[in-house]
């Protein structure tokens, strides 16, 4: 816990601490995780803000994301260039938002962007179909997928334009008490 590290200036660490939901130790730990993905690309000195981006292949091979069916979308949403290549800021942001301490509306916004596969700020039917297939591992038949998508749009679309906007999504999330909590809502 001493000030022996030379990776960040004290000011930088404080800023990171204020802007993510992590403590100093956790931020340093995450930095080492980031560096372990590509030790030759990531310098040990971030005091002069180097511009380093790790490609998506390395990010997607992390043990936390490896088994997640949405890993590509997650990487795309949190990366600056939208292709999945992440800087350290993007990396920290991703873990901060997905952690338990982040507030619900922040998670809701990012969840909306993750489910929006074609990036048009609306969740349309094709987005829903892709989401459903990823959620159930392609085990539903085409008919069933179509039926569920119709039902979802029926239930959640409040302004009746055939697709879900951010307001519709947030309105529905507000009603779910277990959103992004470690609880089984089927009990």
């Amino acid at each position: 816990m001493g000030n022996k590290q030379t990776i960040f200036t004290a000011q930088q660490l404080d800023a990171y601490q204020d802007c993510t939901y992590f403590t100093r130790k956790e931020i340093l730990r995450l930095f080492y995780r980031y560096r372990d993905l590509a030790p030759q690309l990531v310098p040990l000195d971030y005091t002069n803000h180097p511009d380093v981006k790790l490609p998506y292949e390395l990010i997607g091979s992390m043990p936390e994301l490896k088994d997640n069916p949405f890993r590509q979308r997650i990487a795309e949403v949190f990366s600056e260039d939208g292709q999945g290549n992440m800087t350290l800021n993007d990396f920290l942001d991703m873990f901060s938002v997905l952690s338990e301490m982040a507030p619900r509306d922040l998670k809701a916004y990012y969840a909306f962007k993750i489910y929006d596969f074609n990036d048009d700020d609306f969740i349309c039917k094709s987005d829903l179909e892709k989401t459903l297939n990823k959620l159930t591992r392609n085990e539903l038949t085409e008919d069933e997928v179509r039926m569920v998508c119709e039902k979802v749009i029926d239930e959640a679309d409040l302004d009746n334009d055939g697709r879900l906007s951010l307001e519709d999504f947030q309105h529905m999330i507000v009603r779910a008490p277990d959103f992004l909590r470690y609880r089984n809502s089927d009990t």
């Binding site: 800021n89 942001d93 901060s96 039902k151 529905m172 009603r175």
Partner: protein, 652 residues
């Protein structure tokens, strides 16, 4: 310093949301916005209002504490992870059985604490019965005549509740009728405590069941079911490979439940009127057939009991057969009738949830009637079939030769039933283990028996009925055997692990799952049937049959209930008048009317809220349409304004 953090985060959020809504601004990550805001803030002089940010800080830390507390509690929920695993692998229907089992375990444990606190511990503290051998008629009772017994006899005593077990806190006969009034310092009336604890135990169980059924009925909301599952079913936690697959299967099963019901609804809607009439008349016919089957089973059991009692006392194997004839008929009925009802259910073509409920309701009465007949037989033997003038019952008004302490005997019968149930389940598990081992050892053995293993489906209704039967036995026996709830807790815990092992090694997931909220509600309704049976037993024992004179806390009372009026007159005059007033009509009728009025008020309130929700939803739709209309108008007007300018330019 933390004030600054809060302010920073609030400002960041506003900036970030503003940046999102601004079309020209490229999408920025939250962290980048935050860093910029922080830089800006550090350039200004921090003019934070301490009071507001302090309060903000406090509410945030309080919320965090509450969240942590719930996480901590969830981690310690009984069998939380096992239930999740079961739900993921086998669906919500099978999981609802295990949730029901967990509810019963908790109920039994809490009732044991109640009974221990009010009856067992005071009895222990205030001293046990005077074990004098009184040589008077009706009072000769020696529970443990040979204290020096061979080792195997200990085992027999353990299994049947006799011997050293009979002479212990387990059974009614051990408690004495000391009211502690000899010296004024201890005034704890054990018989009164005993009877009030029994009554309160029944009331407590009823309240728990009703509370749970209300929680279950209002817990699941059918509004927004699909969208809930799709968008909130996935938590973006870091799960491993296995846990991810489990979560995906769980979501798949939950969707399947709704999809199955949709499919059946669609099928039903697509029928022509003639086919609809045919289907409904077929259903009514099958209902009548099922009723007839159950009636025939009852008739058979009644006839067998009658026959067995008339021809009692025949020697040899034939006599044994006749003695066990009612049990044989009951077991055959319990086996055959559900099988036939399953075939009937195939013809009826209800949705899976309703099929499960029908199977449950049809089989429950049959299961409970066996217990009822056993208790009825015992009762008629104890009271000489109600004939107070029969030679055996003349002296003490119950058969004191065969049953010197009949309450203990009834308690022993209930204890034996409970133990037998547990042993059967353990034996089944051992058989299954043996078969699995055999299948592993002899891998290519294409014997039919080894093919049975691993292909079974976990049949929820019959397992639930087993639980209801076990719990009814405990309720019926709790008055006579106060430690029975504790043993039942242990039995159900062992049963949980037995069933879980059976499930994972022998069963495959069902092809069609059913909705667990409907079925859980009906599990509780069926449990209430069992409770009613046990209540009848308790009321009969308290009010009608004479307690034994040789043992127990109610030794010299004509009936167990008599102690309450007797003690009532020992209370002060004011209390007596107050209690008389509460029981009189002048109080109860206005109370009843008031509760009706309150109930009507709540029903009206609920319906008004529902209507206003519908109205607001419709309004929201209209607003959306208005917005689209206005946007179109604006576009049109823009074009209209642009057209003349464009034409002017073109002309130029």
């Amino acid at each position: 310093d933390s004030n600054q953090v809060c302010l920073c985060r609030e400002t960041t959020k506003t900036c970030w949301i503003a940046a999102l809504e601004d079309q020209d601004c490229p999408p920025l990550n939250y962290i980048n916005v935050c860093l910029i805001v922080l830089q800006v803030q550090q350039m200004q002089v921090p003019a934070s209002s301490n009071a507001a940010s302090w309060k903000h800080n406090k509410t945030k830390s309080l919320r965090k504490l509450k969240n942590n507390f719930w996480e901590f509690l969830y981690y310690f929920t009984l069998w939380g992870r096992s239930l999740q695993k079961i739900g993921g692998n086998f669906g919500g229907g099978v999981q609802s059985y295990f949730l029901f089992l967990r509810f019963l375990v908790v109920l039994n444990f809490v009732s044991f604490l109640l009974i221990a606190g009010f009856v067992i511990i005071p009895s222990f503290v205030l001293g046990s019965a005077e074990s004098g051998f009184v040589n008077r008629p009706c009072m000769t009772y020696d529970p443990n005549p040979n204290t020096l017994v061979a080792f195997y006899e200990y085992f027999l005593h353990l299994l049947s509740g006799t011997g050293f077990m009979e002479d212990s806190f387990m059974f009614y006969g051990y408690y004495n009728n000391n009211t502690g009034t000899e010296d004024g310092s201890r005034a704890y009336n054990i018989p009164l405590a005993y009877i009030f604890t029994a009554i309160f135990y029944f009331a407590f169980c009823l309240c728990c069941i009703i509370a749970r059924s209300v929680a279950v009925a209002t817990g699941g909301s059918t509004v927004g079911n699909y969208s809930m599952i799709v968008f909130t079913g996935w938590d973006f936690g870091c799960l491993g490979n296995q846990a991810t697959k489990l979560k995906q299967k769980n979501i798949y099963y939950r969707l399947q439940v709704d999809l199955e019901e949709e499919r059946i609804k669609k099928q039903a809607a697509s029928l022509t009127p003639w086919r609809k009439v045919a289907l409904y008349s077929l259903r009514i016919l099958m209902f009548v057939v099922a009723l007839g089957l159950i009636g025939a089973a009852f008739f058979g059991i009644f006839k067998a009991t009658d026959f067995s009692q008339v021809r009692d006392g025949q020697p040899g194997f034939l006599g044994l057969l006749i003695e066990f004839l009612p049990s044989i008929v009951i077991t055959t009925g319990n086996f055959l009738v559900p099988l036939l009802c399953d075939q009937i259910a195939l013809i009826e073509k209800y949705s899976p949830s309703i099929t499960v409920v029908m199977a449950l309701l049809r089989a429950v009465v049959l299961r409970l009637v066996s217990l009822g007949i056993l208790l009825f037989t015992l009762c008629s033997q104890i009271t000489c079939s109600g004939n107070a003038e029969a030679s055996a019952c003349q002296q003490c008004r119950y058969d004191h030769e065969k049953y010197p302490c009949w309450e203990t005997r009834v308690g022993q019968e209930m204890y034996k039933l409970m133990l037998f149930d547990l042993l059967v389940n353990i034996a089944l598990l051992v058989c299954l283990c043996f078969l699995v081992c055999v299948r592993i050892v002899v891998d290519n053995w294409s014997c039919k028996l080894s093919q049975l293993v691993g292909r079974q489906e976990f049949v929820v209704p019959s397992n639930v009925l087993g639980l209801v039967y076990g719990q009814t036995v405990v309720w019926a026996g709790a008055l006579f055997c106060p430690l029975l709830p504790l043993m039942n807790t242990i039995k159900f815990v062992i049963l949980f692990y037995c069933k879980k092992i059976t499930l994972f090694h022998n069963c495959r997931p069902a092809l069609k799952t059913f909705r667990s909220t409907t079925s859980t509600f009906f599990f509780l309704v069926v449990l209430l049937f069992g409770w009613t049976l046990a209540l009848v037993v308790m009321i009969y024992s308290l009010a009608v049959i004479n307690p034994s004179m040789a043992c127990g806390p109610f030794r010299f009372f004509p009936s167990m209930w008599k102690i309450v009026p007797n003690s009532f007159y020992c209370l002060s005059k004011v209390t007596q008048d107050f209690l008389f007033f509460i029981g009189s009509q002048a109080f109860s009728i206005p109370l009843f009317a008031l509760s009706c009025v309150i109930m009507c008020y709540f029903v009206a309130l609920a319906s008004i809220y529902g209507k206003s929700v519908e109205m607001l939803k419709a309004q929201l739709k209209l607003e959306g349409q208005d917005k689209q209309f206005l946007v179109k108008q604006i576009e049109r007007l823009k074009l209209q304004h642009l057209m003349p300018a464009l034409r002017a330019e073109v002309q130029d």
